[in-house]
Symmetry: C2
Subunit: 332 residues, 2 copies
């Protein structure tokens, strides 16, 4: 997968800022890759990028037209086909993180082929993976894990990568979900891999590297989430992390999407992940806790992080509010 | 998936009895579905079924031509295409458990369509699954789990189903791998499901049922196998088992296929599976241990089972040598 940039971020007529998470992630973390956003009448949200239409963006050098929104079910609404064809005609590759595949629409595949442009379905790996081998690889690895889904694992991973690089150490962010892939330009949407190959795909995401290099691997799901724990476990085993960072969000009372499902503590999450991590890396250790404190004020955020730090004996911070220096200070 | 029978089991020129596991499983456990086997010159193994060629089997009423062999990589060797076409022309559906899909061969899809026959790739689910919900379902469920892959989970599950039914209780074997699917005529190859949907697919395998009915669910892999633990965990969560049976094989020194990977104890396997099972069924309990003792003599087999029973406080038996009555006696 090779995503050309700069991007034109298409957010359609979105009115919910959560629905444009993919576009916002790219704008926040790879602003140098984002030329502009393309909004339609009725759209009430923004990535913060300047506005351009397809012709303006093409003239300014846009290389990829990114479907930067999501909807429940990941459907590609046929109403957008003419817009996508216009972007192809303007010379851009098309990038989608939807569940529906661009390549399932014959009018798109024909036009892209005729124009020698790419249709990139970033949720659908086109690599044929192998099953996991659990063989030790060179280099160091850090994996973010969570008490739940959507607790900030990608933002934490990107913050950690930025902090390490600011210290002139070698590090690479390794994306495992569609937003992360758009930010970094490559990666594997691990939850879209055939389940026999989860660990093998995870192994391929952080290959052998220089001994002092850190791969910062974006985690997915949670070992305590009944729908997605299998993905989390395969990713954990294949990543062979030397270091784990537990991500957590304040104010949750149940697992995401499952009102009847209770929430694990940070301590339980540490123990569960360490137990399993040691299967493929006996030296694995948890080096910090990252908390999404957006539901409380500054004072309460500091207090919550202090309490978790005391309970766990680990550095604890909100990456957005406090930065992640204390966690990087604690790397092995 | 609806596999018509009786089957003609095609084992080609196989010389390794392990390579015809799928055909042998059907012959052993669903002899009423197996009309005959079709062997070619050079074949040195057998399912024990009478021999017939395609024309003889068609005349005797065969409804499905089963590719009953496997090879490393699950490749469909093009040399078999003429044979498969002959079976289609004789009026049979084609059933394959290979990784390569029958439906990827245009000459097969065209012929099957013209003759209104099915090409059934049992490793490739064609259902669109949902993500798991962890909602409680009615009925009782038993899942076999393992210290490793290939320790007898399918044979144990089938033995348990047979024993329950012999007591005039309601039970259904639920297949999760290609051999089991061929035995039962339906099921889901869980390791071929997109990883986002492992638990959801597992939930669909044992739907709501009568309160006293037992689903006996065939386990896959092992929570301690670095390549396949994600599949095992998703299957465990989605199955919501009331009862677990731990399967084990004597004489293993490392995890299957991974010479560098140590082996868990039965006790560790019990604890690990119970910890995770309680996420979706707080009342889950382990009710017995099934051991493949084929590597030792009768006396050593009995002694090994006695020792494991004393260590675990659970009934322990080799399903083939001793039957599984003691485990069924211990059901909740």
């Amino acid at each position: 997968m090779n995503i050309n940039y700069p991007y034109l971020l298409f957010i359609g007529d979105a009115t919910d800022s959560l629905s444009i998470k993919m576009a916002r992630s790219a704008a926040d973390w790879s602003p140098e890759k984002c030329l502009a956003e393309y909004r339609l009448p009725g759209c009430t949200v923004s990535t913060g990028c300047p506005e351009m239409n397809i012709q303006e963006a093409a003239a300014a050098g846009a290389k990829s037209f990114v479907l930067g929104f999501a909807n429940s079910g990941g459907i590609l609404d046929p109403q957008w086909i003419p817009t996508i064809l216009e972007a192809l005609d303007a010379g851009m590759d098309i990038v989608s993180g939807l569940h529906d595949k661009l390549t399932d629409f014959p009018e798109l595949t024909e036009r892209a082929k005729a124009l020698n442009l790419q249709l990139i379905d970033i949720r659908h790996p086109n690599t044929r993976f192998k099953t996991g081998t659990a063989k030790k690889r060179q280099g160091k690895r850090l994996l973010t894990v969570g008490t739940d889904c959507s607790v900030g694992k990608m933002y934490t991973s990107l913050s950690l990568t930025k902090e390490i690089k600011s210290r002139n150490l070698l590090a690479t962010f390794r994306a495992t979900g569609q937003s992360g892939i758009l930010v970094s330009g490559n990666g594997v949407a691990i939850d879209c891999v055939i389940s026999d190959f989860i660990s093998g795909a995870a192994e391929s995401i952080s290959p052998d590297n220089e001994a002092e290099h850190w791969d910062i691997i974006e985690g997915q799901g949670s070992l305590s989430h009944p729908a997605f724990a299998g993905v989390s476990l395969g990713l954990l085993h294949g990543s062979q992390p030397d270091a784990l960072v537990v991500c957590h969000a304040l104010g949750r009372t149940h697992m995401r999407g499952l009102p009847h499902q209770g929430f694990p503590t940070v301590i339980e999450t540490i123990e569960l992940n360490l137990t399993h991590a040691k299967l493929t890396n006996p030296n694995a250790k948890v080096v910090g806790v990252a908390v999404n404190t957006s539901s409380v004020d500054d004072a309460a955020a500091l207090q919550a992080c202090k309490e978790i730090s005391e309970q766990t004996g680990l550095p604890c911070c909100d990456p957005i509010r406090h930065g992640v220096a204390s966690i990087i200070d604690n790397l092995p």
